[in-house]
Amino acid sequence: MEELLRRHTPRLHAVCRRVIGGSRDADDALQETLVKIVRSLDRFDGRSSFTTWTHRIATNTALDELRRRRRRPPLHLVDDERDGPVPEPADPLADRVIGSVADRLAIDEALATLPEDFRLAVVLRDVGDLDYAEIAEVLDVPVGTVKSRIARGRAQLVEILGNRSAPDRRPTLDP
């Protein structure tokens, strides 16, 4: 069981973070996802792949967490120290740290502006690495819809990130 969880946890965490945004809510969603998986494991019937099944649980849990968060009044502008103050550049790794945090914030912000349908499809494809059929199963929509949502979501993300990024920061996304 532990091996099974360890194998899938990083990707499920990434999906939760990308659906919800980098925050403690995503961490909570991950924990809830794993608990749901072990509690319902004896009902996994092999009709979908195990990966698809776990992603479905993660996606639904993350969405539920996101909806709960939207109902809560915001307490702070920054809700997680990981995404908050950036440490002073005191070592060679610092620039990379700052760049990474900035990239994460930019992508989280861009993803947050996408319609939920598009965000889920893009996250499951590009972060979860599921194929179209698996995403269709997770989201319970036809494959054609998945294909369309991914394309439109990517196009919007490229546009948003391209407009926001400085020329030297993310040149590959600029047209």
Binding site: R18, D27, I37, R43, R56, S100, V122
Partner: protein
């Protein structure tokens, strides 16, 4: 933003284009540029989730805590298994484990089992379904009520009892699992917004009780072809994950399925892992395939269920149960 161009570029990046579409993309520099922008976006999405610094030690800590919490929940659900695991070090294999390993009965032998066993399994199924309906009617906590029979089935069943175990498992599916099944079977909606929100809402367990039981007990054939696999690597990965999940849940081996075991190409101790849609390569069309593994789960074979012809096979890398 050109929508058609975005669609073509996106499908191209994901390898979901037809040969004609691929050729069209490669002939159009503007669309190729769009492909590269999408590729950069994908790389960016993946890269920013990789641990890069000490701040990401917190990510590892979060994941570790989540795993620990999940394992604690697992032990709560399976106290007998947890107790057995504590006794495992420096001992010969635990009796329960031995009994389960010994329960992998060659399919020809299963066919020789007395006919009353099938009738007994049917009776158990009917009783379990009846008990489920009664318990739903009385408003009991389904989650608590359902996990206990599943645990008993795991530790007490042997060999041909697999059918009983799986039947009880299906009949005692809880609110948490049933919505997932129900969601799979829901009709496709034309409204994208409705599609996504319905997926999330069903995970809350808000499905009316009357809708759960039929979905959970539904015959597996209806959705068997939902899994699409291409190539022997995917075949092996799917088989390994399925076997591991079933073993972990204590529902291994699955119910007997003696299709194709008469074929000379199937192992005599074959165990069916279910049906999928399979293609040997991207160039071939998906077709129904019955997956069989041998008793020692060292390999998996994909067979055409109509004529038991071997379509493909792959070696498995599974630890002993």
């Amino acid at each position: 933003m050109n929508t058609d161009r975005s669609h073509d570029a996106s499908a191209y990046l994901d390898g979901a284009s037809t040969p004609a579409e691929r050729a069209a993309v490669e002939a159009d520099p503007v669309t190729l540029g769009e492909v590269e922008r999408f590729r950069a976006l994908r790389d960016e999405l993946r890269r920013t989730d990789e641990p890069v610094d000490t701040a990401d030690a917190a990510v590892a800590g979060v994941q570790e805590r989540a795993i620990v919490a999940a394992l604690a929940a697992f032990d709560d659900l399976h106290p007998r298994r947890a107790a057995a695991a504590e006794q495992m070090p420096e001992q010969t294999p635990e009796p329960t484990v031995e009994r389960r390993a010994g329960s992998v009965v060659p399919i020809p032998s299963r066919r020789g089992l007395p006919s009353w066993l099938g009738a007994a399994a049917a009776v158990v199924l009917v009783l379990a379904a009846g008990a489920l309906l009664v318990s739903r009617g009385s408003g009991q906590d389904q989650d608590e009520a359902s996990t206990e029979p599943a645990t008993l089935a795991v530790t007490d069943d042997a060999g041909a009892d697999g059918a009983e175990s799986r039947s009880a498992e299906a009949a005692t599916a809880t609110e948490e699992a049933a919505p997932m099944v129900a969601a799979e079977d829901a009709p496709e909606s034309a409204d994208p917004g409705e599609d996504a929100t319905s997926g999330g809402a069903t995970a809350e367990g808000d499905i009316a009780p009357g809708t759960e039981a039929p979905a959970a007990i539904e015959a597996p054939e209806t959705a068997a072809a939902a899994v699409e696999l291409v190539g022997s690597t995917a075949l092996a990965a799917y088989a390994e994950e399925t076997v591991t999940a079933w073993r972990t849940a204590g529902t291994w081996p699955p119910p007997p399925d003696d299709r194709c075991v008469d074929a000379a190409t199937a192992p005599t101790d074959a165990i069916a892992l279910g049906e999928v849609a399979y293609a040997v390569s991207e160039a071939e069309a998906l077709r129904p395939a019955l997956l069989l593994t041998d008793g020692s789960t060292s390999e998996v074979r994909a067979l055409d269920p109509s004529d038991c012809r071997v379509l493909d096979e792959a070696e498995l890398d599974l630890a002993a149960p």
